[in-house]
């Protein structure tokens, strides 16, 4: 049976500790990026601290991809130890080809039951023969299936070991790769592959046109580009790598990163630095984000800008630290006591994360208010090939300041029309004052008066609320809307990827639908969403949560179309384009109001 030809090809590389599947996947992706293909990689790892089983999940295409496909077309299994730990995350396509070692006798039943085509090859023997790791055999084999050349693969191996200072591995690895490459030769036509060969891409590819970047790096880059210079944080999966990336680069820009003793310290250090006028952020995940609740409230009350990046992982509590979910939405919206309006913003893909982070920092500084940026593990740790952005994002951190006061009656919390009061930073002559977590009057003095509380509450709300009135061009970034039709999918954050692709797939089938991806979640943009929803009869709310947090948020703050369909599932199985497409096709047939369903 000849292998299917696909628009995009999905490959899973799995193996136990030491097989190096993640590296192989990354090298494959990088090689693809170099010749002008697009693609992405996520990883799934076991509970072992180091060296446990892991899976590299790749998708390669001629066009930018933001999400995994429904199923995997090629499964390369170095071995089968503990495969069941992530079997639930790796759905196999009907025509999947499974490549495994000739000696493998422990192929799990779920795989055997599903896969018609299992190929036993001398993977380990080749690796042993060349004194290399099995992942190099896989790199050659899979690279060939992707129609990469031996030279392209050799180059990438060269680059890899040179960067690591392990030149001695180059030669054996290349030899193993070549042997793997040869192994693929007889099956080229039998295994699913890309519809078009990469030659077109190769012809077009110019150096510098693509970036290979993770979501966490994208957020960090946006922060630096917008002028962020101070970071305090405490290690936590899956935010740590963002902090580590920043730690190495901040000093080059005259900034710094402090490893705090805990998240309470981190958020308060950020408030301290920002009080000093330095654009500042912290990055954390669920448990640390919960600990920051009190600090965020202080930022709201004392009107101190701060960027709090929450790279969501599966909750509640410690949950599943290495896996993705969107379940911190309601905490991001409501997560401090009292009426404490603050910005909540979600980047919707890796490419977008650079710009959206810059925008979030810009808004936080402009509105003198904490901004929570909701990323997630999938987005944050996904490695993706994107078009290199042209220039820097248009938004910078700019706070309205007062350089000096003559009269001595500086009013830190002056009741301006916009609700924004120019701030005197420490060092400004004559404007000395004390900011406070206590309710206060315009002059920043503590007050328990009915009138002061009402006026300051109103002011803190007004400065956010007025965004509804900002000119369209300033607010264009609040949401994206693509497509047309009476059925509309709505998402926030990383669920946009599969939704966008579903819209394209639907259009190919002649089914026209819209997709709204909301970046700005708080303050709600009632009029703006209303406009985007004009003519929509059925709304499908897609999100990666169990309880429907996004659905509840939308119901609480917006007027929605008559029929609202909740399409949700918890992690770690990601939402895929095909699932959203199915929901879309079904949506045309339901007519019950508010149908809640699990995406299947």
């Amino acid at each position: 049976m000849p292998g299917t030809r696909r628009e995009s090809l999905s490959l899973a590389l799995t193996g136990s500790g030491g097989t190096g599947m993640i590296s192989a996947g990354e090298l494959l992706l990088r090689a693809c990026a170099r010749i002008g293909l697009y693609g992405l990689q996520t990883r799934s790892v076991g509970p072992q601290i180091r060296g446990g089983e892991s899976a590299a999940l790749l998708r390669i295409a001629h066009y930018p991809v933001e999400a995994h496909d429904d199923a995997f077309h090629v499964l390369f299994a170095a071995d089968w130890q503990n495969f069941e730990r992530f079997a639930g995350e790796i759905t196999l396509a009907d025509d999947v080809v499974v490549i495994t070692d000739e000696a493998a006798t422990d192929i799990p039943r779920v795989v055997r039951a599903h896969a018609a085509d299992i190929r036993h090859l001398p993977l380990h023997a080749i690796a042993r023969e060349h004194k290399a790791r099995i992942n190099m055999v896989g790199l050659g084999l899979l690279g060939h299936l992707l129609r990469l050349t031996e030279e392209e693969l050799a180059d990438i191996i060269h680059w890899f070991f040179t960067r690591k200072g392990r030149q001695q591995f180059i030669e054996p690895s290349i030899a193993a790769m070549r042997a793997g490459f040869a192994l693929a030769e007889p099956m080229l036509e039998e295994v699913p592959s890309l519809r078009t060969t990469p030659d077109a891409a190769r012809a077009q590819a110019k150096a510098g046109r693509r970036w290979l970047i993770s979501g966490n790096q994208a957020v960090a880059t946006g922060f630096l580009q917008a002028g962020g210079r101070f970071v305090a944080g405490y290690p936590i999966t899956p935010a740590t790598d963002m902090l580590e990336w920043l730690a190495a680069r901040l000093p080059q820009l005259g900034g710094q990163l402090v490893q705090a003793e805990d998240e309470l310290a981190a958020i308060n250090m950020v408030l301290g630095a920002s009080y000093g006028g330095i654009p500042a952020m912290t990055a954390t995940s669920g448990p640390g984000f919960s600990l920051m609740a009190e600090g965020i409230g202080l930022g709201v009350m004392a009107e101190i800008p701060a960027l709090i990046v929450d790279v969501q992982r599966i909750g509640p509590s410690t949950g599943i630290p290495t896996k993705s979910e969107q379940g911190d939405l309601q905490l991001a919206l409501c997560g401090t006591h009292g009426d404490a309006p603050h910005l909540v913003i979600a980047p919707d893909c890796i490419n977008d994360a650079i710009r959206t982070t810059a925008w979030a920092l810009h808004l936080a500084e402009k509105l003198q208010c904490p901004a929570v940026l909701l990323s997630d593990q999938k987005l944050g740790q996904m490695l993706s090939v994107i078009d290199a952005p042209e220039g820097m994002p248009p938004w910078k951190a700019e706070r309205e300041t007062v350089a000096a006061c003559e009269t001595g009656d500086y009013r830190r919390f002056a009741l301006t029309d916009s609700g924004i009061s120019p701030v005197a930073l420490p060092g400004a002559k004559g404007c000395m004052h004390t900011i406070d977590g206590l309710e206060h009057d315009e002059a920043a003095l503590p007050s328990s008066k009915v009138e002061d509380h009402a006026a300051q509450l109103e002011k803190r709300w007004r400065k956010l609320q007025q965004m509804e009135e900002w000119p369209e061009e300033e607010m264009r970034h609040w949401a994206d809307c693509i497509g047309t039709g009476e059925v509309c999918i709505i998402t926030f954050g990383s669920s946009a990827g599969p939704a966008r692709e579903a819209i394209r797939l639907a259009a190919d089938m002649g089914l026209h639908a819209r997709h709204i991806s909301m970046r700005l979640l708080f303050p709600p943009q009632k009029k703006r969403l209303h406009k985007l929803l004009e003519g929509v009869k059925r709304l499908i709310v897609v999100e990666q949560t169990h309880s429907g947090q996004f659905l509840h948020y939308l119901k609480a703050h917006y007027e929605l179309p008559e029929v609202v369909i909740s399409c949700r599932r918890p992690g770690p199985k990601p939402i895929t384009p095909q699932q959203v497409l199915r929901a879309l096709r079904e949506a045309c047939t339901v007519d019950a109001k508010l149908t809640e369903r699990v995406c299947t």
């Binding site: 990088r30 990026a33 170099r34 150096a207 510098g208 693509r210 970036w211 290979l212 970047i213 790096q217 880059t221 630096l224 580009q225 210079r229 101070f230 305090a232 680069r249 080059q252 820009l253 005259g254 900034g255 710094q256 402090v258 003793e261 309470l264 310290a265 981190a266 308060n268 250090m269 950020v270 408030l271 301290g272 630095a273 009080y275 000093g276 006028g277 330095i278 500042a280 009190e294 600090g295 202080l298 004392a302 290199a388 820097m392 006061c405 001595g408 420490p426 060092g427 400004a428 002559k429 004559g430 404007c431 000395m432 004052h433 004390t434 900011i435 406070d436 977590g437 206590l438 503590p446």
Partner: protein, 280 residues
């Protein structure tokens, strides 16, 4: 009240004129006075001084000074002050809090500030009670201090803030009495001049909930501490010292953890260089 142009500011110039909420006779009035004297003596421009506090009667102090103030969260003065000092090293940064603020809810930050050694002067206004919340035992309360929340008293030894500071690596450790304003002012000056984290525990009576502390003025023993020549010696002094002894017991220097590198001339160029690494 822009007096920065006047040649020599006096202590009163550092007051904001806001009326303190403190009870009559509260020791914190004297701490306030000592700070103004210290700032005046050092002739520090008011706008270059920042005082960060937590929550408590003590935590109210910044509003009474005409410097930059940050009245933050209970227990979190030190992280805020650290963030501020690290990013704005040219400012003179002070932190203030109560015994509950610093030694109870803020204990982890206290330990880590001592280690980190930022150039901040910390004033712990120790009244051995939670004043603001009306009289519960604090970590420095005597074991038999009975109060409604602990009717039989805490029955545990008080936290020894000085000992904790020493063992956590503080580079300047001292105790003072708020009733001796000049000595306290001198101590604060020494703390500010100390290039690192200076811990000054101030015995500051709470006549309202600890009326017996009005006797402190008769009981305090001044200058029992002498700057020690070794950590062991400092610890031994603190352990054997009278309960109400004052003085500087330890001073040493050690570079602060963090420093800011100079900002580059061309941010955009540096950003370009950084993002080069994303090319496949």
């Amino acid at each position: 009240m822009n007096r920065q142009t006047a040649p020599a500011p006096k202590p009163g110039d550092y007051k904001s004129g806001v009326h303190p909420v403190w009870c009559p006779g509260c020791g914190d009035f004297a701490v306030l006075a000592a700070i103004t004297r210290a700032l005046a003596k050092l002739q520090l421009p008011k706008h270059e001084v920042a005082l960060v506090s937590g929550i408590g009667c003590s935590g109210r102090i910044p509003a009474y000074l005409d410097v930059y103030g940050f009245h933050g969260l209970h227990g979190r003065a030190l992280p805020v002050a650290t963030g501020l000092k690290l990013s704005r090293p040219e400012l003179t940064v002070l932190a203030a809090g109560g015994d509950g603020d610093i030694y109870s809810i803020g204990a982890a930050h206290f330990v880590h500030a001592c280690r980190r050694n930022p150039d901040i002067t910390l004033i712990v206004m120790d009244n051995r009670v939670y004043g603001m919340t009306k009289g519960q035992p604090s970590p420095t309360s005597e074991p038999d201090f009975a109060a409604a929340l602990q009717p039989e008293g805490p029955h545990v030894p008080p936290v020894n803030g000085l000992l904790l500071a020493l063992s956590a690596g503080a580079t300047f450790v001292a105790r003072a009495f708020s009733g001796h304003v000049d000595a306290l002012a001198e101590m604060i000056i020494a703390g500010i001049e100390h290039p690192g984290f200076a811990v000054i525990e101030v015995l500051s009576p709470c006549p309202t909930f600890r009326p017996e502390q009005t006797q402190w003025k008769r009981q305090v023993e001044d200058d029992v501490f002498k700057p020690a020549s070794s950590l062991q010696e400092a610890m031994a002094q603190v352990i054997s010292a009278p309960e109400l002894g004052t003085g500087i017991v330890w001073q040493t220097t050690r570079p602060a953890a963090e420093h800011i590198p100079a900002p580059p001339a061309d941010h955009a160029a540096v950003m370009r260089e950084i993002t080069q690494a994303f090319l496949p």
